[in-house]
């Protein structure tokens, strides 16, 4: 039987574009604030759980133990967990089972991100999430994934971009009341969002959360320890996490099934049977405005495709029927990746305690849900927290109130001229082995063939091919070929490269579903078509390079173009 676990303190730095503080120093500021808020010292902490996103942001390997001193981990059981953007909501899950299992009574939970060291743009660190062999050669941009998913979501449910833009407005306005926020803006309007620069259609500049530096910390405790330390614990009632297919182009891009699976796991544990009645405040992951809506649907708080109109109608406003991201979210407070996720847990803690100040939602919220998302955009992490009806202890609170956050922003000039700054290239190159299945696929390209494998058990034809079926976990049964014709599953018109250098003309990445494949689509580009004429469901065909120019690469298909006489879906 798992022990009950409570959150008893929280603290955070200000989120800034570039912090003067090192990652260790940011961690310490947040950790110290959380300990002070809980009214305890580091000596009272039994174990430390930390989270921070890719090592490549910092060029520091083993970031966990690099941050160990700032995390308060000296001489203690310590672990760093990492599930990409989902990390910030996974770290308290790690702390939950450290305590629930009886291994520790008091755990310090730390999440830190310092993205500003990575040059010329932190997006470079994300390039490695794309498949080395069949996607990296296309010159992908992280924005592609979001734009392609957003386009698919909008098309599947006939959504209005204007309704989606209301999320950015709501969150940046909410953030104007958050003392740690980077991009709070009380007077922003939907017109501002719709008029902002198009980065990768349909994604515009103000649809996107900012790159940031920052740290957040919590103190979590067993029921027994919490009873001695606070008169207002906030309980972790449920936790859940789940992963979709690692082949992102094979997923249902219009609906985050992995979020539904993670939410159901957490709701079951929390005894939540009617989330729309039993959840009073939500902090879904909102790195892009449409993602908040996508995730609200996965969290079962709105029907599929219905969150945008509810948002536009004010249902998710701070004083609406279901306040969503009253903190201001990633769009407003900022997005230092792992820290941003943990900020959502801290916000639920403050909201459920009635300590959120100007951000406090009306009434007496008793239960909230927070969620984050990441890895190759397919992990869902969910935590349900609640007051269980009020104080369950007789302890008198000893800690300080949530304290004034700090962190020192560095201007561009100060960043360039900082005394003692060090520039380091990474200077690494890689040789990736294609493996058997992808090797055969690339050799097929040389001959103008699209090689697939089949699984007799689930009766799927798999593109890209694999030597084992990931669903049945058995060897695939044979090789086959599919025609290089299909339909556009989703597309974007991208105006920037990964390092944000403008592209003119823009390029048109697309997920193509080949007619003969049952696994879904794969990533390529469109050409011989005006951007305005591209549509989802359009029939397309591969245009191959001349035989003598082929090298056994995904680029042996020069691009896809509209298939005349082909049947659009």
């Amino acid at each position: 039987m798992a022990r009950r676990v409570a959150v008893i303190g929280a603290g955070m730095t200000k989120f800034v574009r570039r912090a003067q503080e090192t990652g260790k120093e940011l961690s310490w500021i947040a950790g110290r604030a959380a300990l002070d808020n809980a009214g305890i010292s580091l000596a009272d902490v039994d174990a430390v759980c930390a989270g921070t996103a890719p090592d490549a942001f910092d060029g520091v390997h083993r970031k966990g133990d690099y941050l160990a001193d700032g995390s308060g981990a000296w001489g203690k059981p310590y672990i760093r967990t990492f599930v990409g953007g989902g990390t910030g909501v996974f770290v308290p899950i790690q702390a939950w089972y450290t305590i629930a299992s009886g291994m520790a009574d008091v755990v310090l939970v730390l999440a830190e991100e310092k993205m500003s060291s990575c040059q010329p743009h932190p997006q470079g660190a994300f390039l490695t999430i794309f498949d080395n062999v069949i996607e990296r050669p296309l010159g992908p941009n992280l924005l592609w994934i979001f734009a392609l998913e957003m386009q698919r979501y909008m098309q599947a449910y006939g959504l209005d971009k204007r309704d989606i833009a209301t999320v950015a407005v709501k969150n940046k306005r909410n953030a104007a009341d958050h003392p740690s926020a980077l991009l709070g803006q009380a007077d922003i309007t939907v017109e501002d969002v719709l008029a902002s620069e198009v980065l990768a259609h349909p994604v515009q500049r103000l649809d996107v959360s900012p790159i940031s530096d920052g740290a957040v910390a919590l103190v979590m405790a067993s029921e027994e320890a919490a009873a001695k330390l606070t008169d207002s614990p906030v309980w972790v009632q449920g936790v859940g996490w789940n992963l979709d297919s690692t082949y992102w182009t094979n997923r249902d891009l219009a609906y985050p099934e992995y979020v539904e699976n993670a939410a159901r796991m957490a709701y079951d544990m929390a005894g939540v049977t009617e989330p729309r009645k039993q959840i009073h405040v939500a902090e879904p992951y909102d790195p892009f405005d449409y993602k908040e809506l996508h995730h609200l649907e996965g969290l079962q708080l709105f029907d599929k495709g219905k969150a945008p109109e509810a948002a536009a109608a004010g249902v998710t406003a701070r004083d609406g029927d279901l306040p969503v991201c009253p903190s201001g979210g990633l769009l407003g407070v900022g997005n230092p990746i792992a820290a941003a996720g943990l900020m959502k847990i801290a916000e639920l803690f403050w909201q459920l305690r009635g300590e959120a100040g100007a951000r406090q939602v009306p009434g007496t919220p008793e239960r909230g849900v927070a969620q984050a998302w990441g890895d190759l955009m397919q992990v869902g992490t969910v935590v349900v927290m609640g007051t269980d009806g009020g104080p369950s202890t007789t302890a008198t609170r000893q800690g300080t109130p949530p304290i004034g956050p700090r962190a020192t922003p560095l201007t561009d000039e100060a960043f360039r001229s900082a005394a003692g700054a060090v520039d380091e290239p990474l200077d690494l190159t890689y040789e990736w082995d294609t493996g058997e299945a992808m090797g055969a696929f690339l050799e097929g390209m040389r001959d103008g063939r699209v090689v697939a494998t089949t699984c007799a058990q689930c009766e799927r034809t798999l593109v890209p091919p694999r030597v084992f079926c990931e669903r049945c976990f058995r060897p695939t049964d044979g090789w086959t070929e599919v025609e290089a014709v299909g339909t556009v599953e989703t597309f974007s018109i991208c105006h920037v490269r990964w390092d944000m250098v403008a592209l003119d003309p823009p390029e048109i990445p697309a997920v193509i579903r080949l007619d003969g494949a049952s696994s879904g689509g794969f990533l390529h580009k469109l050409d011989e078509v005006a951007p305005d004429d591209v549509s989802i469901g359009m029939a397309v065909e591969a245009v191959w390079k001349p035989v003598e120019e082929r090298t056994g690469s995904i680029l042996d298909i020069a691009y896809f173009r509209p298939r005349h006489g082909g049947e659009d879906r």
Binding site: W28, Q119, R136, A418, G439
Partner: protein, 144 residues
């Protein structure tokens, strides 16, 4: 058929030194002193200075001048470079415990043919005009 696909990770990094290291480097460049920070509760002095005590999480200030003298805690003499190539001149590197400090500092040994653990050494700094707020403003440690 399996074969290699070539790729890279086209990023580089710019690290600014943070709050505590900025104090350390500016004092080194401008005043030629090695600043540490002392945690009174733990009676531990770290150099370079730190913003906080990792043992008790107390906030620290960079108020203790350490060295320039110290003793060799350990040393090594490297005969090969990072790619395994033979070096023309062996490189001596030591962990030096500066006077008044509890932590050790890694740096080069200069002109010492046969180093020994416990040997007294002292920091040799570059001339002030050449200093740039870098750990290399210390040229190395030489026999005291």
């Amino acid at each position: 058929m399996s074969r290699a696909i070539h790729g890279d990770l086209p990023v580089r990094f710019r690290y600014t030194p943070g709050v505590a290291n900025t104090s350390f480097f500016e004092a080194l460049r401008d005043r030629g002193v090695l600043l540490g920070s002392k945690c009174e509760a733990c009676s531990v002095t770290s150099v370079p200075a730190r913003m906080f005590c990792e043992r008790c999480f107390a906030e620290l200030s960079p108020g203790v001048e350490c060295g320039p003298g110290g003793s060799v805690e350990s040393f090594t003499i490297g005969h090969v470079g990072i790619d395994g190539e033979a070096l023309d001149e062996p490189v001596a590197v030591a962990l030096v415990r500066l006077d008044h400090a509890d932590s050790v500092l890694m740096h080069r040994l200069l002109g010492i043919e046969s180093p020994a653990v416990g040997m007294r050494v002292t920091a040799r700094l570059r001339p002030q005009a050449e200093r740039s707020a870098s750990i290399l403003d210390i040229e190395g440690f030489e026999r005291e």
